[in-house]
Structures are given as C-alpha cells and as structure tokens.
C-alpha cells in the first residue's frame, strides 16, 4: 500500500514537472517583457522605469541557459518559484500573488463548496429518483430535461438567473459579496442556484446512467431473488458499486473548488480566485495566471492520486501492485 502511494506520488511529481515545462513554454516564450512592463506601469512611463520593472520581475534573465551562472535563468527561476510556492508579484499591479490567492480562496470556497456538495447530493438523489422510475414518463421527461439543461450555455443560465430571479422576481440580490455570514447567504443564494442549475443536467444524467447500469447487473437480480427490498438493494449493493464512477467524477472536480468558477464569480462580483483569473486574463497578468494554472494542475494531480487510492478502499478488485 505504502509502496503504491509512494510510486503513484512520484509519478505525479513527474507530471508536475511536465506541467511546469509546458507553462514555461506558454508564458515565457512569446510575451515581450518590456510590453508587459508598459501595460503594468502605464503608458506614460519612461523607458528606464520599464526596464527597472523588467529587472524587478526577473524577466531580463537568459531564457534557457546562462553560461556564466547556470542557476540564473528564467527557466530555473520559474521552476524554483513554482515548486517553492513563491509566486512573486503580479505582472499587472505588483500585488503579492500568494497573498491574493489566500484572500481569494475564502470567497471562492464559499461559492463552490455549496455548489459542489449540494450538487453531488442533489445529483445523486434526483438521479436515484429518476432511475427508480425508469421506463416511466418521469424517467423519460427527466432525461429530456437533462439534455435540455446540458444544451444551454452557462452564459444564459447566468443572464437568465440574474434577469429573472434577481431583477424580475427579486428573490435575491443580483450580485455582490459580503464577508459577514448572515448577509453572505443572501448574496450567495443566486450564484449557487445558477451554478447548481447549470451542472445538474449533466450530473443527473451521468449518475442515472451509472445507477441504471448497476441496477441492471446480475448481482442485483441475485439480491432480489434472495428477498432484498428495493431500498436495501440501493443502499447496500448498488450505491457501493456505483461509488467507483461517482468517485471519479467527484474527486476530479475537487480542484475546481479552489480555483473557483471564472464566469460565476465575475458575473456575481465575488472576489474569489475565478474572478482573479478573469482579471489576469484581461490584464495579461501572466505571473498570476501561471500561478493559478499551476495550482489548478497541482490540485488535479493530487486529486487523481487520491482517487486512485480511494479506488483501493472502495473496490476490492483493485489490487495494489
């Protein structure tokens, strides 16, 4: 077990290195540092200030190889800063990136965590309901509704939600954020609702397929033949077997809890990591983007390792070899 975890983690680390190399290629090989500086410091800045900015951000070093001191290149700096989580300062406004990530995590989590947990529970619950009534009009309508839901762009969910629920029906404030918990609930209600609605179609359909596939399996027939009731079959047999695909889907979405939702956050004015990334995109803030992409990838790789380990706990057939 331990040996497996160690080996799996080691491979994960190799993938992290691959990601870093790719990020380096993406972010350092085309942007002119001096133009990044101009964007950051301002149009009105004289050349020497721009050059100073470039030096301060370390963008003046040789890209790949420095014959004089091999450790002093952008490539090495990139790996060093990423691996030590020393992300430095934003290219756009010189704010410390790590601090901003810390500050943005709270708002992001307060949005994504409810969407995630309620989404999984609701998805599993509703899909069980639909799967239970399979081959009736409830099931067929459910599937059609899911496909309808999946075919709508998230932009429309947001626009529609804000217009209909926020503006016309005035159930919740249209957008905004407040750190005090009581007020926050009111503000988060609408984005959470929209986030749920957007994801629900796909997840119900996915879970439904899983459940129907599992309930069609022979062991369910066996259980029935020995006198198990429907509820017991679902709880003791089907749910446990369905855990494997469900786990894959759920764990893989954990990184998004932290990276937040780009669109929801920027539309609803939530100062989380998602809107931070939208800002970084609009402001050509490569340092921030790079850090966020890296963290996202890191979390994803970690989540994958966790999934693999979780498999061994859920499924006795998976052997640790």
């Amino acid at each position: 077990m331990l040996a497996y975890i160690v080996r799996r983690t080691a491979y994960g680390f190799v993938v992290v290195l691959g990601v870093l190399l790719l990020l380096f290629a993406l972010f350092f090989l085309y942007a002119e540092p001096i133009e990044m500086a101009r964007r950051a410091v301002g149009e009105k800045a004289p050349p020497e200030v721009l050059e100073q900015w470039v030096v301060n951000h370390g963008y003046d070093k040789p890209t790949w190889w420095n014959s004089e001191s091999p450790g002093d290149t952008m490539l090495v700096d990139h790996f060093r800063s990423m691996l030590t989580f020393d992300f430095g300062r934003s290219d756009a406004d010189d704010s410390p990136i790590l601090e901003r990530i810390r500050a943005g995590m709270g708002p992001s989590l307060s949005l994504t965590l409810p969407i995630f947990t309620v989404g999984v529970l609701l998805g599993v619950g509703l899909s069980l309901f639909v799967a239970y009534f399979r081959e009736t009009y409830i099931d067929r309508m459910g599937v059609v509704l899911c496909v309808l839901g999946m075919s709508l762009s998230i932009l429309l969910y947001i626009i529609g939600g804000q217009f209909l629920i926020g503006k016309m029906l005035r159930w919740f404030p249209i957008s905004g954020f407040d750190a005090s918990p009581a007020v926050m609930l009111r503000f988060l209600a609408l984005p959470v609702l929209v986030g749920l609605a957007e994801g629900l179609g796909g997840s119900i359909r996915f879970y439904r397929t899983v459940f129907i596939e599992e309930t069609g399996r022979d062991y369910v027939r066996t259980a029935r033949a020995k006198g198990c009731g429907d509820g017991r079959i679902m709880a003791r047999h089907v749910l446990h077997n369905a855990m494997i695909p469900i786990l894959t889907r759920v764990v893989v979405s954990i990184p998004f809890l932290f990276t937040g939702s780009l669109l929801l956050e920027s539309f609803f004015g939530i100062p989380g990591l998602g809107s931070m990334m939208v800002d970084a995109i609009h402001g050509n803030d490569f340092a921030t983007l790079r850090a966020m992409v890296y963290i996202g990838a890191l979390l994803f790789i970690a989540a994958q390792i966790l999934t693999d380990i979780a498999y061994t706990l859920v499924d006795p057939r998976v052997r640790l070899a």
Binding site: V15, L22, S151, F206, P255, A297, Q304
Partner: protein, 344 residues
C-alpha cells in the same frame, strides 16, 4: 494579397466536403453495419437530424460566395466584396441606423422611420444590422468550431492513441505522460493560455481547442487498441506476417471507426459551448453566437427591453446543441453502448 482569396478557398472547402460526404455515404451504403445504423438513427431522431441538416445547409450556403452581382449602386466596396448565398438572400443595404424591433417600421430609439420597414424579421442590432442575417451567419462559425477542431482532434488522438496502445512500451509511456500532463491543467485555463500565445482568429481558436480536446479521446483509443491488439484475428494476422502498418490500417483502425463517430458527435456540442465562454472572455471567434450573446446580454437592461438579439443567438445555439446532444445519445446507443462511459 494571397494567391487564393478566402472566399475561393471556402468554395473549394465546400466542394471537398460535399464530395467527401457523398463518398462517405457511398462507402457506408456498402457496409451493412453502417447503413443499418444510419437508418436506425434517422428513425429514432428524425427531428434532431433534420435540424442539424438545416444548420449544415445554412452554413454551406454561407460558405459558397462569389464577387459581384449586386451591391448598392456606386459603392465599389460592396460590389468588390464576395457575398455568400446567405448574404444574397438579404439586400446589401439591409441596414438601419440603430435598433429596430422585429417587423417594426420605426427605429426603436429615436423613433425615426426605417429604410426597410417591417422587413427585419428578428429586428436589428445596435449597429442596425439585421439579426436574422447575423444569426444565420453564426451557423457557419459554429460548424467551423466543431468541424475544424474535430479535424485536429480526431487524427491526433488516433495517431497517438493507436501508437501507444499498439506498440506499448516506451511509446506508450511517452504518450501517457503527455496525456497526463495536458489533462492535469484545467481545460479552460489551458485554452486561454494557448489562445494568448497563438493569437486570435478562428484557426487559432480551433487549434487551441484541438490541443486541449484530444486528450480524452486519445485515452479511449489507447484502451480500445490495447484490447483489439490481443484479439485472435489480429494475432493471427501478425503470425501470418502482415506488416504492423497493414494490421493497424486493416484491423485496428476500422474497428475504431464507431468510436470516432461517437466522439465527433459528443465533442461537437462541448466545443461550441466553450466558444461561448471564450467569447465572454473576449477571445472568441468573430461572428459566433457566443459573441452575439455577449454583445446582447447587457441590452436586457434597456427600457423597453431589447431581447431579440439575445433570444435569436441563444435559440440558434441551443437548437444546434440540443439536436447534436439528442443525436449523440442515439448514436452512442446504436453504435456502442458500453465503451464510452458518459462524462469521462
């Protein structure tokens, strides 16, 4: 100025596509499996297939363009521009000064008379352009996003997936590493980063989407090839001394074709929807429905509300995606209910 004008190129592409479609149809007819699957598909989802056919024909008609024949008198620019069949369905000066409601005869704001009263079926946008015209033109962009990207994704994924699955060993290790690396980066972020590097424009966006999109399919191809390689008749062919390339072309590839078809259909809707998000971030493709939605979303705040822009673009988008999703479901059921778990 390049030797081949864009509109000539697109005419050629349309011809090639039509030829390809006819050829594919002819081949499919000869194979029982495919022609039966096709018949069953049409039987199951006649409306959705009709809708897709409509979208495709609009896109085709918008891709066939030629210079001349019309244009406002005296305006050399209009006359020298290639106009597609769809453009020709609308008068070249089919423009107002500003918003007008569907079928209205005065301008929505300001109240001046329109030059084409009562003839804008879906009204006009802020620049006075006919919304129906813009919506129809969006079909071409949507199909370009789906089609061109699939043209990148599918061969790439097949090449990588088959070589990894068939040859195994080092090649498999490398491919698997590349796949894990790409898959680790959140798709949307990777997409954005790629477009920043590649620049804007339809081709660049499609290439970026292709680079991010091939990973999932590659995994499936790799797994299937793994299984196929172990099959008796493939082993037998190898024992008989058929070359590796021969085995791949004759035995492996044809058995992956159903996966290609399913993936294409499933990929398509995801791609078109992602473009809408890119449009919001300002890096979408010009003329797409995503861009129209993005342009129109704030107009809901006007009084009276300007809704037709948003509704036209989103209905078109929704109808296409919905049809494709419905057809996709059916295609999966018919061709392969097992291999492709949903959502993975």
């Amino acid at each position: 100025m390049s030797l081949v004008e864009p509109h000539v190129l697109s005419n050629i592409v349309v011809a090639v596509l039509l030829g390809g479609a006819v050829a594919a149809f002819a081949i499919a007819r000869r194979s029982d499996l495919w022609s039966q699957a096709g018949r069953e598909l049409i039987g199951r989802r006649p409306i959705a297939i009709g809708a897709i056919a409509l979208f495709v024909s609009v896109a085709m008609l918008d891709s066939v363009a030629w210079v001349g024949g019309g244009g406002a008198a005296g305006n050399v620019l209009e006359q020298s521009r290639p106009r597609s069949v769809v453009d020709r369905m609308f008068a070249p000066d089919f423009k107002e000064k500003s918003y007008s409601a569907p079928l209205a005869d005065i301008e929505f704001y300001g109240g001046a008379d329109l030059s084409h009263p009562g003839s804008h079926l879906l009204g006009t946008d802020i620049l006075g352009r006919d919304v129906l015209h813009l919506t129809l033109k969006g079909a071409r962009v949507a199909l370009l996003i789906g089609g061109l990207t699939s043209l990148i994704v599918i061969p790439l994924a097949l090449l990588m997936g088959i070589s990894a699955g068939y040859f195994g060993g080092r090649i498999d290790d490398i491919v698997f590493f590349v796949v894990s690396t790409l898959a680790s980066i959140p798709t949307l972020l990777l997409l954005i980063a790629l477009i920043m590097v590649l620049g804007h424009g339809p081709v660049q966006v499609c290439v970026a989407m292709g680079v991010t999109g091939w990973v999932g399919f590659c995994r499936i191809v790799r797994g299937e090839t793994f299984k196929l390689r172990e099959l008796d008749y493939v082993q037998a062919a190898r024992a008989l001394g058929v070359s590796e390339i021969g085995i791949i072309l004759r035995h492996i590839l044809p058995n992956l074709m159903h996966l290609v078809v399913i993936t294409f259909v499933l990929l398509f809707s995801g791609l078109v929807l992602s473009e809408a998000i890119l449009a919001y971030l300002g890096i979408g493709i010009d003329g797409s429905w995503g861009q129209m939605i993005d342009q129109a979303r704030d107009e809901l705040a006007r009084d009276p509300i300007i809704w037709w822009n948003l509704v036209a673009a989103s209905t078109a988008l929704f109808a296409l995606i919905l049809s494709v999703n419905f057809v996709g479901d059916a295609v999966r059921d018919i061709l392969d209910p097992k291999t492709l778990g949903e959502g993975e």
